[in-house]
């Protein structure tokens, strides 16, 4: 049976309180009875004193027998009678003896009357006096018996009250001891166990298990504590794992940061190298080209057969080399020589690109269409270059059909996804990723340097976006790239991209 701590405490308080009240009540009763008996003894003492006066008055009566002694006698008799009537005893023994005393008093009164019946006291027979004294003496004895009964009763009551107080006090002490034991067993011990458990838990020991002594409040507390400790252990394990993961990630991030820094440094050096190389290469290449052209102009007649062809090759090679260097120089400048970002009109960029390619558009009978295009955050020149490259490719790698380019845009949260669809030859799936690598061309001898789409991807990346190519269902390709709608979106995307890159790293 489950007994709660509250019930136990209530029982303890009731038991000890009840016993305490009984002890106090017993002492109170004892004191009350003591004073009650004492008062009774005082009353009896007064009666005894009056009975003692009978002897003296009887002698007076026998000697004088005058009016004064008679008056005193009757007064004394009445007085004693009233006192005897007023005496009340609560026990039968004393009451029985009081009745004896009343009878003796009646006999004394009769004996006194008999004495007073003689006109001449000298004629009163001696035995009348003897009987009067005998009865008075008996009354004294009877009063003493009553005293004895009262004293005996007081002693008995004292004894029993002492026993009662002793037993009740002993019971109270025992109850207090039991209560102490109870409090220790049912309250202090579980509390100490809980305190010890909390202390150990505070020191980091989560393997503590509190003892569940019984199904009371402390038992429930211990059970709850153990359960919560188990939960804490699980949370702590997860936290530790998370901390380890965070530490690993931080380490990876630091490593990535270092790698990025190295990479950026390396890129910068590479860009610097590309720039310097491109720039420095242009001079000797220009000399090769110039002198090749000069040779062709002045000494064309002197070259025959293959020599002339070879010279032409050299001149074309130099020209081609110049184009490569030019494109490479532009590519290397994309990150360092870009314009500041701002809100730009995508339609304006598209229009400028179309204008730059007007000749090719016309010669190829190309057609450019578009949906409503948004304004967004970016570098207008570079976005124009993106459209120019994509439109140029669409025209270069056209199919037999007349080129048709369609530009559309779709908002995806804080980003815009721009699609440039053409009806050209299309790009085999195996090359859809490679086309964005530098110097990658789908066909050898094909027109171009193989830097255009690499530049496009670099520009898009600089704007925090991505670019990929899908096959157009109607033939051709769809180049899709994302651009930030606003500066905030771009910053957010850039941060996320950096993190993802680091995570990937």
């Amino acid at each position: 049976m489950r007994t709660s701590i509250r019930s136990r405490l209530r029982m303890i308080v009731l038991l000890c309180g009840g016993l305490g009240i009984l002890v106090v009540a017993s002492v109170q009763w004892k004191t009350h009875r003591f004073y009650q008996n004492l008062a009774k003894i005082d009353e009896l003492d007064e009666v005894n004193a009056h009975f003692s006066e009978i002897n003296q008055l009887a002698r007076d009566l026998l000697k004088h027998g005058n009016e004064r002694t008679r008056t005193q006698w009757y007064s004394l008799m009445d007085h004693i009678e009233a006192e005897l009537a007023a005496l009340e005893f609560i026990n039968e023994d004393a009451e029985g003896h009081r009745e004896h005393l009343v009878r003796t008093h009646t006999l004394i009164r009769e004996a006194g009357d008999r004495v007073m019946s003689y006109e001449d006291p000298a004629r009163v027979p001696e035995f009348h006096g003897d009987q009067l004294f005998l009865l008075a003496s008996r009354a004294g004895d009877q009063v003493e018996v009553l005293f004895g009964i009262l004293y005996q009763r007081m002693q008995q009551e004292e004894l029993w009250t002492l026993i009662a107080v002793f037993v009740l006090t002993a019971a109270l002490i025992l109850s207090l001891m039991l209560s102490g034991f109870h409090v220790y067993r049912y309250i202090a011990r579980p509390l100490l166990a809980i305190r010890e458990g909390l202390r150990q838990t505070g020191q980091g020991n989560l393997d503590v298990k509190l003892p569940v002594y019984r199904d009371d409040e402390f038992g429930q507390l211990a059970t709850d504590f153990n359960r919560e400790l188990e939960n804490l252990k699980k949370v702590t394990s997860s936290r530790d794992a998370l901390e380890r993961e965070i530490a690993q990630r931080k380490q990876a991030e630091a490593d990535l940061e270092r790698t990025v820094q190295k990479l950026e440094s390396s890129n910068a050096e590479l860009e610097q190298f590309a720039y310097v190389a491109s720039h420095d290469l242009q001079q000797p290449l220009r000399m090769v080209s110039s002198f090749s052209e000069l040779l062709m102009e002045r000494y064309e007649d002197q070259f025959e057969g293959e020599a002339k062809t070879w010279l032409t090759f050299a001149a074309d090679g130099a020209k081609r080399m110049q184009e490569l260097i030019h494109d490479l120089l532009d590519y290397s400048r994309l990150n360092t020589r870009g314009s500041p970002f701002g809100t730009i009109s995508l339609e304006a960029c598209m229009a400028r690109a179309e204008l730059y390619l007007l000749e090719e558009m016309v010669s190829n009978e190309g057609r450019l269409t578009h949906d409503t295009l948004p304004e967004l955050w970016g570098d207008e020149n570079q976005i124009t270059a993106v459209f120019q490259n994509l439109f140029s490719n669409a025209l270069k790698f056209r199919s037999d059909e007349k080129p048709h380019i369609h530009v559309s845009a779709e908002q995806l949260g804080g980003m815009w996804q721009i699609s440039v669809a053409d009806n050209g030859k299309g790009i085999p799936e195996a090359f859809r990723e490679k086309v964005f690598s530098i110097f990658q061309r789908l066909e050898s001898g094909q027109e171009g340097t193989g830097i255009g789409l690499a530049s496009v991807r670099r520009i898009v990346a600089r704007h925090g976006g991505e670019i990929w190519v899908d096959a157009n269902s109607g033939g051709g390709s769809i180049f899709r790239f994302t651009l930030a709608a606003s500066m905030d979106s771009m910053n957010s995307t850039m941060s996320q991209t950096v993190v993802e890159r680091k995570m990937d790293a």
Partner: protein, 323 residues
Amino acid sequence: MKGKLLPFAVFLMLALGLLGWGCGSKERASSATLRIGVQSNLASALLIQAKAEGAFAAQGLDVDLVMYPSGKRALEGLFAGEVDLATSAEMPLSVAALEGKEFKIFAEICELTDGAWIVADRERGIHSASDLRGKRIGTQKHSAVHYFLIRFLQAREIELTELQLLFFPAEELHERLLAGDIDAYSMRNPFIAETLKALGPRAVEFHDPVIYVQMFCLAGTPEIRTRSPEELVGILEVLHRQERKPLDLNKIAGFLNVDPKLLQDDVERHQPLLTLRQELILMMEAELAMLQEGAEPREINVLNWICSDELMQVTPAAVKLIR
């Protein structure tokens, strides 16, 4: 829990045991049987009630009560060695003292008021006490009723010479009255009751409760003091405790095998007590003087027949005679 209660229980039992030992420490081991001669009336009420309640046994005493029809017969039994102690009114004791019997009075145990009175036959012309003059009055010689008669006449200033005093055994007085040998007699119950029943309205009684209080005493031969001193004290201790109790007439009647109603009529006249007072000496001396009337007076020291040592051991306050 039980283990923890055990020491307390043992402690409590020891404490109560000590208390019980303290209360019962006065008890004595049972020894030889003591026989006490008593009368089957309330004069021996303390002894009879103690016996009926088993108070003697509780005191460790083996006491037998031997019934006698009167105190005089009980004293005869004492002197004949039939009993070790006897209860008797003071008058037979005075007679025994006069006869030179060896005995000791250890305590007065009851006082009887109106224990003797006179019954007469109206047809003999007796209607009031003064009518006793010139009549033949019977009584038992040298007994309490004899002493009462003397005092009764004195109180009414009737001289002994004015009437004829005749002595008969107690059991003969009733028949003598009916037979016309006497006109009245002084006696006690149950003899007077018999006469009242026989005479009916013709009977006339004369009471005077204040002229003679009979003092019933517990007496024994002097040897009892040396033979059973502790038992003697023990008996007095029992009587001392009984003195403080009310009379239980049902118990006494049950022991005597009589109707409690018979005792009820007597209860107001009896005063059980335990004492030794100067008045006993005076009473006995007065009786001795009466007994020696007409003879050469002998000086008898009543103190020689009274022994207060044992009662002093039990309750000194009860001893009120001057020694």
